[in-house]
Amino acid sequence: MVRKSKGRQKVEMVKMANDSNLQVTFSKRRSGLFKKASELCTLCGAEIAIIVFSPGRKVFSFGHPCVETVVDRFLTRNPPLHHQNSGTMQLIEAHRNANVRELNAELTQVSNELEAERKRGEELNRVQRASQGNCWWESPIEKMEMSHCEQLGGSLEELKKAVAKQVDRLLIQTTTNPNSYFAAGSSGHPTLIPNGGFNGVPVMPTHPHPHAWNPGYGRFF
């Protein structure tokens, strides 16, 4: 199995030698750092300012409530301005906190969806690998011999015809009920593998060919 990346490796704590790796590392780690900072503010109610100069000419900063106020507070060594006493400031802060709460909730939700979708992808990979083991026609085509190629081609042509028939059928359905364009036979979204998991078993063919079809009308529809 070809891995997409090397995975977690231990890194030596010195300046990175490879410049493009350095750029990528900077980008990723900076992003992760700001995420940690945001979480610290949300979880513990801290005020923070982070300044990071980039390997190029840019400067990145993250601040809560904002970079400038925290920086000024530190540099002037002033006690925090008790702006909380001002009614307007309180309102602004309350509004901002409400926004952040909403955004955090939204981020959590989308992240969960992403994770679920990734899991689904891995399940689909597993299913594909399992069936590739059983059927020669699912293997890469480049390695196929002539007779197999022709056989697979024939079956695909037949399947193509079946697809065209189904499309006609659905089109008729659509014209009689315009709302059904996005509706499938049953549900609106094709889910071979619902998030709950897949209990499919790869089909063992009784003879080692894809079905040579005779698309008799009565048989499939």
Binding site: M16, L33, K35, L43, I51, V52, P55, C135, F182
Partner: protein, 182 residues
């Protein structure tokens, strides 16, 4: 290390909040230090917590002052370009995550279509029941793509066969002439 999923909201329990603060602050400072070292860049952090009137900083107060002065001296435009607060940062994260979600959904959709195609071939029964018109269009595309691949392989294989036959007949001719020429 405990790896429970944390709910992203203010920790109301005082001691839990203080513990969390200490741990996360320490971890964050380590990450900042690593970033600075690995990438050879100037960086600093200033943290005001509800538990302490004094700010906690990295690296040292004097070096922090240096970095902050350097920051302050930058033109406003350059400073603001990559300046974030929680709101803008979170919006960016949400947007990025949505992009990734779209990409993975598309990949999964393609995998499912591929599976549908091969299941139909294997069983001899078209597995169209969950597919709408758009999916059927995508499926047709996938089938055409496979057919193109197959046809080009068949062409290549046929060419090879013809080449070999031509070579063989040339060799035969030469051999025959050789014999007659004797």
């Amino acid at each position: 290390m405990a790896r429970k999923k944390v709910r992203m909201s203010y920790i109301t329990n005082n001691s839990a909040r203080k513990t969390t603060f200490k741990k996360r602050k320490k971890g964050m400072m380590k990450k900042l230090s690593e970033l600075s070292t690995l990438c050879g860049v100037d960086a600093c952090v200033v943290i005001y917590s509800p538990f302490d009137s004094q700010p906690e900083v990295w690296p040292s107060p004097s070096r922090v002052k240096n970095v902050l002065e350097k920051f302050k001296n930058m033109p406003m435009i350059e400073k603001s370009q990559k300046m974030l607060n929680q709101e803008s940062f979170l919006r960016g994260m949400i947007s990025k995550t949505n992009e990734q979600l779209k990409k993975v959904r598309k990949q999964n959709h393609e995998k499912e279509l591929r599976h549908t195609m091969f299941q139909s071939l294997t069983t001899g029964i078209p597995q169209f029941q969950n597919l709408n018109l758009m999916d059927m269009g995508d499926l047709e595309q996938l089938i055409n793509q496979k057919l193109d691949e197959i046809n080009s392989i068949i062409e290549n294989l046929s060419e090879e066969v013809i080449e070999n036959e031509t070579k063989m007949s040339k060799l035969n001719n030469n051999a025959c002439e050789g014999i007659h020429g004797m």
